[in-house]
Symmetry: C2
Subunit: 265 residues, 2 copies
């Protein structure tokens, strides 16, 4: 027994195994995963696999696929996930505001939160104009550094924490998104100076452009970020000013509401 139970995967093995099963299932997308997928991705025996599958099914974490022998993620995850996305009640506060913005301006608006070294999309509201975006929907996850919302989040973390995150993500950022740390630093400076972020241009999605502003608590810590995305051609100076102002108003109102809610113990 290694006295070196370290960072990788500790904790009750049943939990770890269950999680691995869910991950394998998720990896299968809407086709789910088959017994063989599990058996050759995982390291435990078949009876054990079936026992866990059964348990996960009973908990609602998995459901049988229409295709025999395949498994899909269960709706309990959806329900819990909906709750999970409402950290600090932010999502409920943001939803109608994102909708209003999208309807008013026709662009697409997003709510993001930090999740470790990633930014996770808590809510999307698409507008009438089509957009491309790194995240397609709620639950999308990006390494911090990608996208304007990332910048807005990073800018208000401590410098040490920020650097840790960025060096952790550096490789992925350059490899998968063609984004250099130096450029991120520059955009963070822009965020801090002007109060909004524009996102770093990588080689991906060159036709789209965006804006983001942070959602800060009373102590200046970022609770999340609101962002928007649009075709670059739509981003005139006027439009940018209008949209930014709209977002700022909505966020200010949200923060006010939040202060009312957060502290009723």
């Amino acid at each position: 027994m290694s006295a070196n139970e370290n960072s990788t995967t500790s904790g009750p093995t049943t939990l770890v195994h269950a999680m691995q099963i869910l991950q394998v299932t998720a990896r299968g997308g809407h086709r789910g995963a088959s017994i063989d997928d599990y058996l050759n991705a995982l390291s435990f025996s078949r009876p054990t696999l079936y026992r866990l599958l059964k348990g996960l099914k009973q908990q609602g974490f998995l459901r049988p696929s229409p295709i025999r022998g395949r498994y899909l993620l269960g709706y309990e995850l959806l329900v819990l996930g909906a709750q999970a996305g409402n950290g600090a009640g932010l999502r409920d506060l943001a939803r109608p505001r994102l909708l209003a913005l999208a309807q008013r301006w026709g662009d697409s608006f997003y709510l993001f939160a930090r999740d470790g070294v990633n930014a996770v999309c808590l809510e999307v509201q698409n507008g009438a104009y089509p957009v491309g975006s790194f995240v397609r929907a709620t639950g999308g996850r990006l390494p911090l550094g990608v996208g304007q919302a990332s910048i807005a989040l990073l800018a208000y973390l401590g410098a040490d924490e920020r650097n840790e995150i960025l060096s952790h993500n550096a490789e992925r950022l350059i490899d998968e998104y063609a984004i250099a740390i130096a450029d991120i630093d520059a955009e963070i400076a822009h965020q801090l100076k002007h109060g909004y972020a524009r996102g770093v241009e990588g080689s991906l999605l060159p036709e789209y452009s965006g804006l983001a502003i942070p959602i800060l608590d009373h102590s200046g810590h970022p609770l999340g970020a609101m962002s928007c995305s649009m075709l670059k051609s739509r981003m005139t100076e006027d439009h940018k000013r209008e949209v930014l102002q709209g977002m700022q108003e909505e966020v200010a109102a949200m923060v006010n509401q939040a202060h009312g809610l957060l502290y009723l113990d």
Copy 2:
């Protein structure tokens, strides 16, 4: 607080315990749950609780609340939940269509799927006109029988299965929603005759009205339902006809697309 003791939740106890922890956390809403919440809702010892909490945290199922000693649902659930909601790829197919409908008509449109004895909301797209609805968002769950989408789903199940569900839900339906089984049966008949459902009127949400149509696979089995909700005053004969036609067109197109996707092994 329901004395909802899980009578036959078998399976690895660690899984069951983990699930209970998640449920308790979820019950706490955006405030999460505290150690005491766990300790007095659950039946295992404190060290065990902490071990599981730690494990769940490492798996991303939980995260620490800003308030020390409280726990929130983790973003991994959100990510998995987003996947889970895309059963058979239906959600991805539906999202842009719901958006188009909402923008065109200004009402609110929903995608539902069956989840055991419940209907679960996979996607919502609100329109410009305000609505009240039983589900507020993705992940909302209703007992089958409530709402127009339920009717559309129930109508295409086998009679035996349907009756089993309805008798299972009967008590909740009458107690919580003031809906009688006989009325549901009548609406199911309407669905089968006219191809769309209107929902059963209970005493709740009397000012709102809705429509729903099923999404059927090639063998007539319901994959889900698309529904809409609007202020009763907006539901003129003309508007109803228009919206129904819009929904039917979108669903038909979805089903076509789905057939293209479902069977590429």
